[in-house]
Symmetry: C2
Subunit: 114 residues, 2 copies
DNA sequence: GACATATTTCACCATTTAGTTATATATCTT
DNA sequence: AAGATATATAACTAAATGGTGAAATATGTC
């Protein structure tokens, strides 16, 4: 499974997005992360494992606690894909606009000067 | 299932991302989209249905063909979520940096003036 | 109307996912 | 060493996913 696959899969779940949003405002333990949800604690642990495998969070040890924090690089990768995609898409539409301009201007499609 | 759920789920599959990338350079039929893959054609139809349900593509009719094209608004929504998330994340780190600066400057954490 | 082509739908299968409860492990406290 | 707390793992279940081949549907053509 590619990096982007696991990243987008991880982001596809609302619980996991909520966990990430919570972590954006600082480190938190499993208990703290479980609190807002009706889910069982093992369910949250599972979600955390998915986020960790996707490289979206890292975990440390503090006594009996295993605090989580965000690892921003991986998200940057996903953003990058979307951004590249948008560029491709924009390029296509600039080309299409130019073509339409040309047709309107004089029925002679060719290179433009802007 | 929320919009973001279906969007990110759709983006989590490499075949579907490849289809989107192909569509970024212009409309294409199911046959054309199937061609690069070893998958059966019904498999591609399924992927297209997922993309359509997610609002990532639209479809029209041209004789017996059902050409697909990208619908950019939905992708913009996903990008927006990532962007908002990044802002939250950045804000946290600006706050943390300020705190560290304060500690270095004189052991008196408090509001800054920049 | 018969035929060919493009696409969808159907019935099925294997795998993965998200959840559960119960149990195990690890660490701190006494 | 015993007990308490935080977390992980195990065993299980129900539903979703991604694939298949075979058949149905829709449209254009002869």
């Amino acid at each position: 499974m590619s990096d982007l696959d696991t990243t987008f899969t991880a982001l596809a779940d609302p619980t996991r997005r909520a966990i990430l949003a919570r972590l954006a405002s600082g480190e938190a333990t499993v208990m703290e992360l479980s609190e807002p949800f009706t889910l069982s604690q093992p369910a949250i642990s599972k979600h955390l494992k998915v986020l960790q495998k996707a490289g979206l969070i890292t975990r440390s040890r503090d006594g009996t606690r295993r605090p989580c924090r965000i690892q921003p690089e991986t998200l940057a990768q996903a953003t990058h894909w979307l951004e590249e995609f948008r560029k491709l898409w924009d390029a296509r539409f600039r080309a299409l606009d130019d073509l339409l301009d040309d047709m309107k201007a004089g029925h002679e499609p060719g290179p433009r000067d802007h």
